[in-house]
């Protein structure tokens, strides 16, 4: 644990504006700005819907964060989500009992994670490539063997699903609650279980972790399995909220949004830094951005431009505040 | 298939790795710097017997007694061939194993008894013996084919033909306690009916329970020799170190057998009681004399190692004489009268150290 604690300390240095703070600040600023500019932005209902619209993104970001903290990256997260869920919907629509279908879906996600983890941990393939290739492969595989429809609608019987998607508990949409719950679980996992600590240790310095006797390879595999399964969960949320799963999400820029949420939140791609709080911060920021711009009726494409610029700004500020030290920067840390 | 793969990669049974000397076995120079109690050719078989200590040099039986700081040794008797083991009953009775394949009893109840057969088979290689009560003698036979003096051959042949017997001295009836042992060398009666032997070629200490062996201490970095009491623990002597190269040669059967057929035993690539005395001996790369010194951690075929074990046979501490040293080939070590005595069969000396060192 001690080394874990050390890592935690590194995650929040003694006072120095970390990326997290900057992001939080930016978020606040934006909030104010939009409250001023966008009609109907500053209303409880809108803030709620804001959260709702990004909760799925948030869950995906959680999944990604686990991997990134362990100095990895999972570019296959979206295909995993889409394929596993689309398949389980097809099964479900084909008349299979819901729980079984879901189990199979999760199983598929898990096995994808397993393969990735194995390739990365045992075959020493760089994570970015493994997942890049796996993403393409998984999508292709799903399209070729598992799912024939382009958009897979939930069958009418799936009332429960829709309910989960639409109900509100104490005015808070269930999706947001689920996101919150996941966040909490991940936080506990990362901070208070040995595996969580190990993930930090691993991300901070893999060699040291191995020398310290941590079974690095198992932990690595664990990360990817967790990420994939969580992704599948996020997919279920999507299905619940739009009562369908469109294969085309894979072709969208979603993966970039996820990465941006994670990294903008202050979880360095170098690994070992940040935590769930950063993910939430990032999610909120993105959420405010998207929602505000939609309210201001900015075209989707122009939204991307604005989004990009804001993010760029945030990164630049971060780099200016804590510049990388040429002497201590790790080789091949891109 | 797997076997072939292992052979290809040198993994599994073909692995030539050797356990490191670490922890309780961390090297030191205690044996090397130990004072010499008495000089004797190839001393062996230290056995406490009342107020004196018996030991053997070549085919003579000696006794060692303490005179203040000094030790004095007198010859007691000598025999036809080299003495391979001594067992003292405690009330005057002594059993002596001899390399010509006999065990003689002197003094005590069965004085003059001569055992040269066990279960109607001529005994070849008595390696250790101990009394379990007045009438029973526990006897270790290291090999069916090689006498004790040819232990090196027995090792390189990878024999597992050793056995442990319990002999009723009154009737002469012998019952076999264990069989197919890889050279049982040390013997200790750890308690009523509790027989512990060292299995040299398997680098381990085992207890014999109903014909089966139970591992007490395994993966020793050396070839264990005799076992002796120390308070409630034990002293385990190792007469030679294990080395990668030897393990490798042991697995290269063709080469190994050819070597045994064509070369004198003293020049084999095999463990030895003492090494570095002749330019015909094999030399390993790390053992080159650099700038006039031979590094103590360089690979060596001979070594001096005496390990203290606790009651559960876990190593507590160890005394060493490392590469390039003189006090190699520790075949027996005991605790006697507040001192530690050890025979360096390679170094031709009986060593003495204070208990606390």
């Amino acid at each position: 644990m001690s080394q874990g604690r050390a890592v935690a300390d590194r995650a929040r240095p003694h006072w120095r504006p970390t990326q997290e703070h900057i992001v939080a600040l930016t978020a606040c600023v934006l909030f104010v700005v939009f409250a001023g500019l966008a009609p109907g932005f500053f209303s409880v209902s809108n803030v709620v819907s804001l959260m709702r619209s990004v909760s799925i993104l948030g869950v995906l970001a959680l999944a990604m964060s686990i991997v990134v903290i362990g100095r990895g990256i999972d570019l296959a997260i979206v295909p995993t989500m889409v394929i596993s869920v689309a398949f389980l919907i097809t099964l479900y629509a084909g008349g299979m009992p819901a729980y079984l279908a879901i189990l199979i879906g999760l199983g598929i996600a898990a096995s994808i994670g397993l393969i990735q983890g194995w390739l990365i941990a045992y075959a020493d393939v760089p994570a970015i490539f493994t997942t890049l290739a796996m993403g393409v492969t998984v999508y292709g595989f799903g399209l070729f063997f598992l799912v024939s429809k382009d958009v897979n609608y939930l069958p009418k019987e799936a009332v429960l699903f829709r309910e989960v998607g639409s109900t509100q508990i104490a005015g808070v949409p269930s999706l947001v609650l689920i996101f919150g719950l996941c966040a909490l679980l991940f936080h506990l996992f990362l901070k208070f279980t040995p595996w969580g600590r190990f993930i930090y240790a691993l991300g901070d310095n893999p060699d040291a972790a191995r020398l310290a006797g941590i079974s690095v390879r198992h932990i690595t595999v664990l990360q990817y399995v967790l990420a994939s399964v969580t992704a599948c969960g996020a997919g279920l949320m999507t299905a619940a909220s739009v009562s369908s799963m469109s294969m085309r999400i894979v072709n969208s820029t979603m993966i970039y949004d996820i990465l941006l949420v994670v990294v903008i939140g202050g979880i360095g791609l170098t690994g070992g830094k940040g935590g769930i709080r950063n993910v939430i911060a990032g999610t909120v920021l993105i959420g405010i951005l998207i929602n505000g711009m939609t309210l201001m009726d900015i075209a989707y494409t122009s939204q991307n431009i604005v989004k990009g610029c804001v993010l760029l700004l945030a990164i630049i500020i971060d780099t200016l505040l804590n510049p990388r030290d040429e002497q201590t920067a790790q080789q091949g840390d891109i | 298939m797997i076997k072939f793969y292992d052979w290809l990669r040198g993994s599994g049974v073909y692995a030539v790795t050797v356990p490191p000397m670490d922890g309780a076995l961390k090297p030191n120079d205690l044996l090397e710097t130990a004072s010499i109690a008495t000089v004797a050719a190839q001393p062996d078989n230290l056995t406490p017997d009342g107020s004196r200590v018996l030991f053997s040099t070549g085919n003579t039986l000696m006794s060692l007694e303490r005179m203040g700081e000094k030790w004095s040794a007198q010859s007691i008797a000598s025999f036809a061939a080299a003495i391979t083991c001594i067992g003292a009953e405690g009330r005057g009775g002594i059993a002596i194993g001899i390399d010509d394949g006999t065990v003689l009893l002197k003094g005590g109840k069965h004085d003059g008894l001569r055992i040269d057969k066990v279960a109607d088979r001529p005994l070849v290689c008595p390696t250790a013996c101990a009394f379990a009560g007045e009438n029973t003698l526990i006897l270790c036979l290291g090999s069916l084919t090689n006498p004790a003096s040819r232990w090196k051959a027995d090792l390189m042949e990878r024999n597992e033909t050793g056995s442990v017997w319990s002999i009723d001295l009154a009737s002469g009836a012998a019952t076999r306690l264990a069989d197919r042992l890889a050279f049982p060398y040390g013997l200790q009666i750890a308690g009523p009916g509790r027989i512990v032997v060292t299995e040299s070629w398997k680098h381990r200490v085992v207890e014999i329970v109903g014909g089966k062996v139970k591992e007490l201490l395994a993966d020793l970095p050396g070839y264990p020799a005799r076992l002796a009491r120390s308070g409630d623990g034990y002293w385990l002597s190792a007469f030679a170190p294990r080395s990668q190269m030897v393990e490798f040669v042991l697995r290269e059967r063709k080469f190994c057998l050819g070597m045994m057929a064509n070369i004198d035993a003293e020049y084999w690539m095999a463990p030895a009681l003492i090494s570095g005395r002749n330019h015909l001996e094999p030399l390993q790369g790390g053992a080159i004399r650099h700038l006039g010194v031979l590094k103590p951690w360089s690979p060596t075929r001979s070594y001096g190692l005496l390990v203290e074990l606790d009651a559960a046979f876990k190593p507590l501490r160890s005394l060493h004489s490392r590469a390039g040293g003189r006090h190699h080939g520790i075949t027996s070590g005991i605790e006697f009268d507040g001192a530690i005595l050890a025979t360096s069969k390679g170094g031709d000396a009986v060593l003495a150290l204070p208990r606390q060192s």
Binding site: L119, T130, F141, F144, L260, G308 | Y14, M245, Y267
Partner: protein, 706 residues
């Protein structure tokens, strides 16, 4: 000798095992992976894909290659500088659109269009470069953002201008030439790529900036500390990448006039795949243009053929993904294990056998009977010398020797109590020969043959010889010059113990026992060197005979001394004069009584002798057992023998316990004393020779009295 043994001998005579290792140690072996991958792809698809090898398919693929190739090369430069550029796809799309807008929409001339496109690409590249190079943002993240922004810009532009832009194909010839034209049957874009490829190769391998790029990628920190302008280098790498994308976009526009907003979507992944397939490492530093081109070709062939085969949706990406995975795994494992494999297979022992060793027992009456004559030698420079492989005297009687630190050390006559560093060479000086001007000609391990004159000036005489035919590895460099002597005509003959190993691996050569050594003659008049004898078994000591008509040399592992005739009827012939020594001969030097002293660096041991007949055993030993545990000659014994001119052994001096003089590598007789050197010893020994001519010295014996 049994039949089995003969077979073994034959097998090792016939099959040259060492070749595998030498192939593996070639640097171009890396490129074999993508190359073989390409071969496989071509074969497979030629077999299954329709009209794969048809002309228009190839020319079509060629055009696409032209475009993707540009992007991939640009990306490679960035990757090799240790960065990554995800925005290539977007830049590509942007420039494609800009070109079309400028050319078709605004109707600008082609050259201006091209410049605009270049400008845009360069601009984005510059932004990336500024952010990542100078502000030192994270490459991955930054280019990710630029990717999104630029893509969005393209889309917005496509919305605003896309419809306005007339879709009618322009009828301007230049444009069509760029798009569809061919030069000598080769698509224009492909020609352009070829030019870029050559330029890029020269840039990366020959230009300063290219080297800087590789250095930064190899180790950013070291590059920084070495004073390389890291930031500027990184910056420029992104600009280059941007420009390459611009050209690609321009070509694409000319080919398809497709102003769609999706152009270049996912191209970054294609390009990355290409780079990885080509074996460009992510960490940076490793890669080449040829490799990335191979990778690009593979990717394109695969994708095109799959599309042409019209698999059901998903099939294409499925297979593409699998291929990428496979390629990456292979590449990773290869680069990880190549050195290991090399280490395993490089040492390739061969069969050898020595006759039974002559007796050396003290009481045996043999001339080799062990004694301790050398133990009475008194030490010179005790604990001051380190690595005195050879000792030699000049006409003034000063003693020279080498040191591991790369110096030539001089002990001053007459008592040799004072010593000084005579000259610093840098490599470990081994065998020495002194000429009439008291210039010390010395073999320096890893460097070659050098000369140090009395003004202490160090001069290179020879570091290469003629490369032998049919040798896989380039053996023209001199790796392990060992001992030298000077013939009356002034030519210097020096031995290179082995061409396959460096000095610190000398034992490996002893394990191999192949004829890896050679004797080289250096002619000072023409300042050229040529190999006179090769395939010798560790040729070591060399000594010109007293009459100066022949040359004695020792073959260490073969335990024999041979004579090489310099002149006379048998000139150029070699005859063995002493065989089956009980140890391994090192240096040979003249003795005052017309005989020769021979240092034996170690003694034969029965086990080692026996193992010579079992190459397999020795190979496995080299693989399984740690270097320090290998069976060596018994080097902890010192022995010197004296042989007559005809080669029969006259006398032997021992330090049988090696207490004072283990591993004797050389000895010189000088003024009635024998001076003994050992490369690993901490002293030089001086042994008075009772019945030797006290007036005799080496220089006199060689150059007469002066």
């Amino acid at each position: 000798m049994s039949i089995g043994e003969n077979l073994i001998r034959l097998r090792y005579r016939l099959i040259p095992d060492q070749i595998i290792g030498e192939l593996l140690s070639k640097s171009w072996i890396d490129t074999c992976i993508p190359a073989s991958l390409l071969a496989v792809t071509v074969v497979v698809f030629a077999a299954i894909a329709p009209d794969f090898l048809s002309l228009d398919n190839l020319s079509d693929t060629g055009r696409q290659l032209g475009e993707l190739g540009f992007i991939a090369i640009g990306l490679t430069v960035v990757l090799m500088a240790g960065g990554i550029d995800l925005s290539v796809g977007s830049i590509y799309g942007l420039c494609n659109f800009a070109t079309l807008e400028a050319f078709q929409g605004l109707g600008l001339p082609l050259w201006l269009t091209f410049l605009i496109s270049l400008g845009l690409g360069g601009l984005v590249g510059t932004i990336n470069g500024l952010l990542i190079g100078y502000l030192r943002l994270r490459a991955f993240l930054t280019t990710l953002v630029t990717l999104i922004i630029v893509r969005a810009i393209v889309q917005t532009a496509a919305l605003t201008f896309g419809e306005a832009m007339t879709g009618v194909a322009p009828d301007r010839s230049a444009w069509d030439f760029v798009g569809d034209g061919t030069i000598a049957g080769i698509p224009f874009s492909l020609v352009a790529l070829a030019i870029l490829a050559v330029a890029g190769h020269l840039f990366l391998t020959r230009s300063r900036l290219g080297w800087h790029v590789q250095a930064v990628g190899g180790s950013r920190r070291s590059a920084l500390n070495a004073g390389i302008p890291v930031r500027r280098t990184v910056f420029l790498s992104y600009v280059i990448s941007g420009l390459c994308c611009a050209v690609a976009g321009f070509l694409y526009a000319a080919r398809l006039t497709n102003a769609g907003p999706e152009v270049g979507n996912g191209t970054e992944i294609m390009a990355l795949t290409a780079a990885v397939l080509g074996g460009i490492s992510l960490g940076g530093g490793r890669g080449s243009v040829s490799k990335v081109l191979l990778g690009t070709t593979v990717v394109l062939l695969i994708t095109n053929s799959l599309v042409a085969m019209g698999l059901r949706s998903g099939g294409t990406s499925f297979i593409l993904g699998l291929v990428l995975l496979l390629a990456v795994v292979i590449d990773v494992r290869w680069t990880k294990n190549r050195q290991k494999i090399l280490a395993r297979v490089y040492i390739s022992p061969t069969y050898f056998s020595l006759p039974p060793c002559p007796s050396t027992a003290k009481d045996s009456g043999s001339v080799f009977a062990a004694n301790d004559a050398l133990t009475s030698a008194e030490p010179i420079g005790l604990n001051a010398v380190d690595g005195a492989e050879d000792v030699i005297f000049d006409s003034q009687g000063h003693l020279y020797t080498g040191s591991r630190q790369g110096d030539v050390i001089r002990f001053l006559a007459p008592d040799y109590a004072k010593s000084e560093i005579f000259a610093h060479i840098g490599g470990h000086p081994l065998g020495m020969a002194i000429d009439a001007q008291d210039t010390i000609n010395v073999c320096v391990s890893g460097m070659g043959l050098y000369a140090v004159d009395q003004k202490r000036e160090v001069r290179k005489l020879s570091d290469q010889t003629n490369r032998s035919l049919f040798s896989i590895r380039d053996d023209s460099r001199i790796r392990f010059a060992d001992d030298v002597d000077i013939a009356p005509d002034g030519r210097m003959y020096f031995s290179e113990a082995t061409v396959r190993f460096d000095i610190y691996e000398w034992a490996s050569d002893g394990l191999e026992l192949r004829g890896n050594g050679r004797i080289i003659a250096y002619d000072p008049r023409t300042d050229t060197s040529r190999t006179v004898l090769s395939n010798l078994i560790f040729p070591n000591g060399i000594c010109v005979s007293h009459d100066g008509r022949s040359l004695l040399f020792a073959e260490t592992w073969a335990c024999r001394i041979s004579r090489y005739w310099l002149e006379g009827p048998q000139a150029g012939k070699v005859e063995i004069i002493t065989e089956n020594l009980p140890g391994y001969p090192d240096n040979i030097n003249r003795a005052s009584d017309g005989n020769y002293w021979i240092a034996l660096l170690g003694m034969r041991t029965p086990v080692l002798d026996y193992s010579l007949k079992m190459p397999g055993f020795r190979k496995r030993m080299a693989q399984r057992v740690a270097f320090d545990e290998w069976i060596y000659p018994n080097l902890n014994t010192g022995m010197i023998v004296k042989i007559s001119d005809s080669g029969e052994v006259i006398q032997s001096l021992w330090d049988s316990t090696g207490e004072k003089h283990p591993m004797i590598t050389s000895m010189r007789e000088h003024a009635g004393n024998l001076y003994i050197g050992g490369i690993f010893n901490n002293r030089i020994g001086r042994l008075p020779l009772p019945n030797a001519d006290p007036a005799w010295t080496g220089p006199r014996s060689y150059w007469g009295g002066r």
